[in-house]
Amino acid sequence: MYSFCTDPATLDMLPWLACYLTTGKHLAFYGAFGTVLLLLAITAPLALAFGFVAAAVARGPAPLSWLGRGYIAVVRGVPDIAFFLFFVIALDQMLEWVRHKVKCPDWDAPIRQGSDFVVCDAAKVPLSTSPQWIHETYGFSLAVLTFAIVFGAFAANVLFGAMRAVPRGQIETAEAYGMSSRQTFWRILVPQMWVYALPGLSNLWMVLVKATPLLFLLGVEDIVYWARDLGGTKTPQFTDYPHGDWRMWYFLALLVFYLAFTRVSEIVLARLMTRLTRGQATTGGERQRKVRAA
């Protein structure tokens, strides 16, 4: 990166470090932090949407509500990492199976042959001819979808509770004014539920942030992958920057990154809570009113 980096073996400690930390692989490592942030930026709203639908379904009429409740209960009862490992393969196979049925209707060999999953070439996702970046994007999208499904169930759980926490009187008043159930839901219940949901959703955001290193298990080249790769012992044969086993320090850096991230989130979420509590008929809102009045 810098002009003096041509012969690292002759450098002093500081310039050596400056050169070492700006090698191509290190730049990829820093880019991986972007991957994590991207995952969060896409997954959070998607999971919230999944959760909203599931919560709305779970409080609806009987046969559908079982589906919603079942989704919530199963995802909560089983370790999330098992779900990650499961969905990544399952979603992939489901997609290929559907495309296989559509694109190759006259294929007569069975799809599961012993330990193999065989679909026709046209149904492969992504196509074996597609360039590398499509493969990478596909892997990332599968990861995003998996995260959204798992965290959607958690969000559904929170939103389901929040919908029930909205005071009964508010709903009754809306009905007394002659609102239809659809109007009551969208105009009264949904705007009011957020303040009850926020503590749970904040917690969920923290959990989501802390679940991002699991991307590594889904085959994405994320920060954990690079930290393991870069930290490992390097001999002079293969690199200009030989060093011992530094993986401990790389993971320490990741630990600090996550601590800073969760701390900042905590502060922002606390501010948001203060904002949403304003004017609400809750103890928090009442306290704010008293402080302002005094």
């Binding site: 199963v74 009862g77 089983v78 370790p79 999330d80 990492i81 098992a82 490992l85 499961f86 393969i89 399952a90 196979q93 599961r112 330990s115 193999d116 999953f117 958690f154 759980n157 929170v158 389901f160 509770g161 929040a162 949901a197 503590p199 749970g200 917690n203 969920l204 959990v207 942030v209 802390k210 679940a211 991002t212 290193p213 699991l214 590594f216 298990l217 954990v224 930290a227 393991r228 930290g231 086993d245 993986r247 401990m248 993971f251 320490l252 990741l254 630990l255 996550y258 601590l259 969760t262 701390r263």
Partner: protein
């Protein structure tokens, strides 16, 4: 090979008894159920060790965080912040590589690089921090009247803690602590995916489940088996913790007792 033979061969495979080689072909349902169940022994081992030992440190950390003295309060606060603010997965990696470096300096750290001790230490510290925060919250919400009554009766120091503060704290914290226990057992599945080696393929339930999913390329059999085992464990935890909860609340009139109920939102961890 009949199913009984499979069970005899593989039931304790994860601990190093029985058949040495994992099945390489066919992968019958019986093999999958037996081996994943065998791996479950590790999850139960990690969960129990961490839960029981972590309980004591959690009480100490909660008391530390609630203490007047800065020297007790600050370390407890930082401990809880660091552990709860970072992912367990990264903690496992960091601890494993730290132990690996320490191993170079002293053979004393040799066993720490194996999962049975190293991962157990990480889980112990982890659950201590999470439960410590729960216990701290409970300490803060002990009714003032209880403490004043204890003072009026002349309780001081250890006796006051042992007879009044501690039981009340546990009683208030128990529902949340039950959730923590469930999530701790879930967290044990991370161990063998985070650096700690599964020597001779002796892994936990998820390790075997993903082994089968990789080999058969069919995730629809091993993962539901795993889910079944975990739901069973969760039900056992709820039963045991519920029994303890009843004992903690036995002096209260039955209409005041808090039933163990999983509250939405208040449960997630890690």
């Amino acid at each position: 090979m009949s199913c009984w033979e499979t069970i005899a061969d593989y039931a304790f495979r994860s601990l190093g008894f029985g058949e040495r080689l994992l099945p390489r072909s066919e992968f019958t349902l019986c093999q999958q159920v037996t081996l994943i169940g065998s791996g479950m022994l590790w999850n139960i081992y990690f969960g129990l060790i961490a839960l029981v030992s972590g309980f004591f440190l959690a009480t100490a950390v909660a008391l530390g965080k609630a203490a007047q003295s800065r020297w007790l309060r600050k370390p407890s606060e930082w401990f809880i912040f660091v552990v709860r603010g970072s992912p367990l997965f990264i903690q496992f990696f960091f601890a494993y590589f730290a132990f690996l470096s320490l191993k170079g300096t002293s053979p004393l750290f040799d066993p720490f690089t194996s999962a049975w001790l190293g991962a157990a230490v990480v889980l112990f510290l982890n659950t201590a921090a999470y439960s410590g925060e729960i216990f701290y919250g409970a300490l803060q919400s002990i009714p003032k009247g209880d403490v004043e009554a204890a003072d009026a009766y002349g309780f001081t120091g250890w006796m006051k803690f042992r007879k009044i503060t501690w039981p009340t704290m546990l009683r208030l914290a128990w529902p949340a602590y039950t959730n923590e226990a469930i999530f701790l057992f879930h967290a044990t599945t991370l161990v063998f995916f985070s650096g700690f080696p599964a020597r001779q393929q002796r892994g936990d339930a998820l390790y075997y489940a993903s082994y089968f999913a990789d080999k058969t390329f069919n995730p629809f059999v091993p993962y539901p088996i795993l889910a079944g085992y975990f739901i069973l464990v969760t039900l056992c935890i709820i039963a045991v913790m519920g029994a303890i909860n009843r004992r903690l609340n036995r002096h209260l009139p039955s209409n005041v007792r808090t039933r163990l109920r999983m509250r939405p939102g208040a449960m997630l961890a890690r």
